[in-house]
């Protein structure tokens, strides 16, 4: 799993690098387009996803100490916070599209939609992973700490990739 974490963050670093490079070339255009984004919403997104990460970390520790019911509760909580993030994201997309900022409208929004969408795909896979986690924790014979930790590691990856996207897309000047 750590192979995935490192390889995937390498690919994302490449995407980010391309984005920052293009940004450096057309700073004013990017800034003007960026001002359409709501930083507050981004902060809320980030905190929701950080909370989901926190919940899944709790779940791992609970599972380790044999408290599987608590672990399952925390896993469901993870999915819940992830759901909040997903809803906020979709709301933001709809808002931007209504404001006329689409994938093809400006260079900044190409990258905005690309990065958020590819991250969203990771998030959707993450829900499948949390499903696996909950299933693991539910069946007595299926409980395997290694799988639990692998699932959590995937979810944390989704989280820290978002932390980077948030800083790069919403905050960077």
């Amino acid at each position: 799993m750590w192979f995935f974490v490192l390889f995937e963050s390498m690919i994302f670093t490449a995407y980010f690098g391309v984005y920052l490079y293009h940004r450096g070339q057309h700073e004013t255009a990017f800034l003007a387009a960026q001002s359409h984004l709501d930083l507050g919403l981004g902060v809320l997104d980030t905190i929701a996803l950080l909370a989901s990460s926190w919940a899944v970390a709790r779940s791992v520790q609970a599972a380790r100490s044999g408290r599987y019911d608590a672990a399952r509760r925390d896993a469901l909580l993870t999915a819940g916070f992830g759901g909040v993030f997903a809803v906020l994201k979709v709301v933001e997309w709809v808002h931007q599209v209504h404001a006329g900022n689409t994938f093809t409208s400006q260079e900044f929004f190409q990258f905005y939609f690309f990065l958020t969408a590819i991250h969203f795909i990771h998030l959707l896979i993450g829900f499948v992973v949390i499903g696996v986690l909950v299933r693991q924790l539910s069946g007595v014979e299926r409980r395997n700490q290694e799988t639990v930790e692998t699932c959590a590691t995937y979810w944390h990856t989704v989280d820290f990739l978002w932390v980077l996207i948030f800083a790069l897309v919403y905050v960077v000047r």
Binding site: M1, F4, F7, Y15, V18, T104, E107, Q110, F114
Partner: protein, 260 residues
């Protein structure tokens, strides 16, 4: 004439298929990167005149290179046969093996057939109206780059099989590499929206990063298939580790029963 010993090895079919796989990917790379120079791709932003001069400067290479693919492209089937075999060797349902085989059997059509036809048609008649030449140019590159769904689903099928497998056919990290590959395949789709920039069909994101990952992926799976063949014991349980440096050949069951 003495028969080469490998011909009596029970693994001869596997080695033949593996050799053909290596041959095919080398041919593919040489044709697309060196002979036709269609990789890295031409500019999507070319106007009519640009496309005509692109065809003019690539004329001979296109015709010769695509002809080689027309002649030998069918050998691509050997790699998917081996991968299908690898999934069959795992402790998962054969549905995964057959799903992989069929998904990738479809892949040959967008994977090289359309670009070969379109580029040959363009190069054959350079005096065709520039507007139509441009259409052929778009057909070639977009069918080649813009149809990644088969590779997405195919990689996910293989990934799932590897992660569920208990026979240690492939290391788990390779399962995750399949996921990385699948996720970089989908980012080519923006090529349908842009004719310049990072997301166009020759862009940094849609082409360079994707080809970089695909190159690593291909190299890795060819190497891993090799070690799978070396480890194969024709059983149904976990695959043993690699044999010691100098493996002793086992002539028994060389011409054994047909595999079911």
């Amino acid at each position: 004439m003495r028969r080469p010993t490998w011909l009596d090895s029970p693994k001869r079919e596997l080695w033949l298929a593996w050799g053909a796989t290596v041959g095919f990917y080398n041919l593919y790379a040489v044709v697309f990167f060196l002979i036709t120079r269609t990789q890295p791709p031409g500019q999507p932003s070319y106007g009519d005149a640009g496309v005509v001069s692109w065809f003019a400067s690539h004329h001979d290479g296109l015709l010769v290179g695509m002809a080689f693919i027309f002649a030998l492209g069918g050998l691509s089937s050997t790699s998917l046969a081996l991968i299908t075999y690898s999934i069959r060797r795992m402790s998962v349902s054969r549905a995964y093996a057959y799903a992989y085989l069929l998904v990738y059997a479809v892949a040959a059509i967008p994977g090289f057939l359309f670009i070969c036809v379109a580029m040959t048609a363009g190069a054959m008649r350079p005096d065709r109206s520039p507007e139509l030449q441009r259409w052929l140019y778009d057909l070639g590159f977009l069918s080649f780059s813009g149809t990644m769904g088969v590779f997405l689903i195919g990689s996910l099928v293989w990934m799932t099989a590897i992660l569920l497998d208990k026979n240690r056919v492939f290391p788990k990290w390779f399962g995750y590499l399949n996921l990385c590959n699948a996720l970089t395949e989908v980012v080519v789709a923006p090529a349908w929206f842009f004719d310049r920039g990072a997301f166009a069909w020759n862009g940094l994101v849609a082409w360079w990063i994707n080809v970089f990952v695909f190159g690593i992926y291909t190299g890795v799976f060819i190497t891993l298939l090799r070690s799978m063949i070396r480890r194969e014991d024709f059983g149904t349980g976990p695959l043993p580790d690699l044999p010691p440096r100098k493996p002793r050949r086992s002539p028994e069951n060389a011409v054994a029963t047909a595999a079911s």
